[in-house]
Symmetry: C2
Subunit: 449 residues, 2 copies
Amino acid sequence: MQFDLTKEYLDQIKVEINASNSQFIDREIIHLHPADIAEILDELTRDEAKFIYDHLDHDLQGDVLMELEDDVRQRFVESFNTKQLAQQLENLDSDDAVDILGEMQVDKQLEVISEMDSDNASELVDLLNYDENTAGGLMQTEFIRAKLDWPINRCVIELRRQAEEVDKVHTIYVVDNSDNLVGTLSLRSLLVANAKALVKDVYTNKNMAYVYTNEDSEEVARVMDKYDLVSVPVLNLQKKLVGRITIDDIVDVIREEADKDFQMASGISENVEANAGIIKMSRARLPWLLIGLLGGVLGSQVIGNFETQIGAIPSLAFFIPLVAAMGGNVGVQSSAIVVQSIANGTSQFSSILSRVKKEAILGLLNGLICGTLIFAITWLLQDIRLGISVSIALFIVIFFAAIFGTLIPLILHRYKIDPAVATGPFITTLNDVVGLFIYFAVGMMVFGL
Amino acid sequence: MQFDLTKEYLDQIKVEINASNSQFIDREIIHLHPADIAEILDELTRDEAKFIYDHLDHDLQGDVLMELEDDVRQRFVESFNTKQLAQQLENLDSDDAVDILGEMQVDKQLEVISEMDSDNASELVDLLNYDENTAGGLMQTEFIRAKLDWPINRCVIELRRQAEEVDKVHTIYVVDNSDNLVGTLSLRSLLVANAKALVKDVYTNKNMAYVYTNEDSEEVARVMDKYDLVSVPVLNLQKKLVGRITIDDIVDVIREEADKDFQMASGISENVEANAGIIKMSRARLPWLLIGLLGGVLGSQVIGNFETQIGAIPSLAFFIPLVAAMGGNVGVQSSAIVVQSIANGTSQFSSILSRVKKEAILGLLNGLICGTLIFAITWLLQDIRLGISVSIALFIVIFFAAIFGTLIPLILHRYKIDPAVATGPFITTLNDVVGLFIYFAVGMMVFGL
């Protein structure tokens, strides 16, 4: 790509802004892609960013606004008065306008809406009713529809008329007289069609994909991904066509999902940005830490049962962290694969038994490798009896951790609990407790305590 | 969506196949979307799947083949003889054909290519040279180009002529006489243009996005995401237009990246599918386990230094797993946020110092909460001196773990080491060793040993 925001260029921009050089903005900035302008604004102070923003025309302002990072956009929005904000929202696609409205207090929403012209306002009020994580919350109401008995060139006229309002048209939706979706018409088939043809002669009604307003955004992503769509029509519960969702919004959904899953796997239970407040960040991390604390306390109770043995042979304590950590690691590895294949819906009918069998074999193999290694190391560093205890215990712990790691997410899933959320804490706690018990039990036998 | 593959329907399909009821296939299956047919084949045995596949026409076979799960497709491909395979590949888009060829042995590749007609063959041979994780490896050579001085209706003729070959056209690429990309022409602007206009009158050359063949697939995803593109043109290093990449392939790249990151966060170092072989799965998991083993051995050395103290006060050993686990948890939480914001390129110029300061405050806060809790619990369960030792140690460990967790990925990133790969093992090992040392040092002071 051609645009690359370097530190030097950014410094130059700051200098020009502070010299109030609006010629520079006109010459260098306003010709850039809105996403590139937004990238610059993200790195400036609010006043610097405002200086550039105020030089853009209204359409470009709307495009740039939606490309800003969330917290930068929020600061921008807060700096507008009600009238300015209403005007800004009218420049936006309906789905974007609703996203911004949705982040405001209800009384502020009402103020802004009352400043908008009534057509726009009533559309936004409708859209505000949808949960933001559903198809209704993602859709925009700007799309082009055609009736079955229209001549082809009426579609072209419609396209020209709505050119201002509807960005990125790939498909025209064909409806019957009661606004029910009956098929689609690609721009390409419009182009190659005979000028005198009717819509009903050239449209497609085969394998038509659509979603309902109340469907989850992840389900929308799944449908668009599965059928390789660049846009999908949205129907209300009476099957009337009410909007469309474009792939760029779905790419955002997929990325957010992935970020959330990654954070979940790292023990952060609410989706937080790197720039969230301290309290919010603390709250997102505490659940996992408290469960870890509980696991540690339970572990201490298990070890407490072996106090006299530790008093007699303190070196037994040396390998406590190793046994606990390895059980956790193996459990998390096994569960990650299961959680992922549940999330991706892979092989939905493949039997649970065959998966557990595979993980068990894997546990035996990895347990054997790790057990053998730790036997050699412990023998060299300490003594052979400790080596025997640690290696046998580790082998058993890895084997059980692999089986628990596979079964727990499968069981959670069967009882409709999201395995991505609950698997980690369960496995950590279970493996701590069971692993330590196995370790000391084996140690007692080997040392004849 | 309308299609939902139930267990009952699948059973019915199996019954009909085993009764060799080809009428059923013609009536029920062949009208489905290729992705839905593939979903059915994924769940059948190879012979059952073959029965359906052989009933499809060639175009549909190609579409279904690309929608199959990887391992199912591989089994299909292996069941074809060279001639059949060559024919199947000719039905596919060039990017898909190359993906399948790329998975075969070189001698098998040559055999298949020698059976194809020479135009197709030379195109595929060119594409095979690109690394599959680059723009060149993702692109297809089917696209529609127009010259600057063409009249508009020549584009329409071209569209009609290539309708068979080029799926999913959204944009026509405009080139000069030496095949250099100079701009784009959307189908919509074609539709609304005057029939007598020339391409150069209506095309756009502003903010044109493109990628080079050698750019990484993640970079392609970043560009398409940033500029909200449904397809992007690919240039070779002489800036000639050689292909295009469509968004559906990029959605796959984003999903694969996310899966890889999730597995990485769970300690699995190679991207493996749930149905990979045992040896491959074991190899993907061992690196993490061996590092865990090393961390455990180092931990045992630290504890070994305090053997006499443990002999005197065995209850000190009770909270070893708690201290080790909490250090690891906090470190992973802190690093996850940093790794993620590095990966997303958020706030690239924001200072390292401010991030470390924030994590330090967060560490103090969470350390205080967890430390207070564990003090109360330990006092109740054991005694006040153990409570003081554990809580002070835990507070310090959480504080340092938060700082290490932030600094390590930042340092790795500065030295061009992928923080997503290396952060986990580093943090686990460091926190085990440092955490245990802090714990016993505090314990010695409190107990006056």
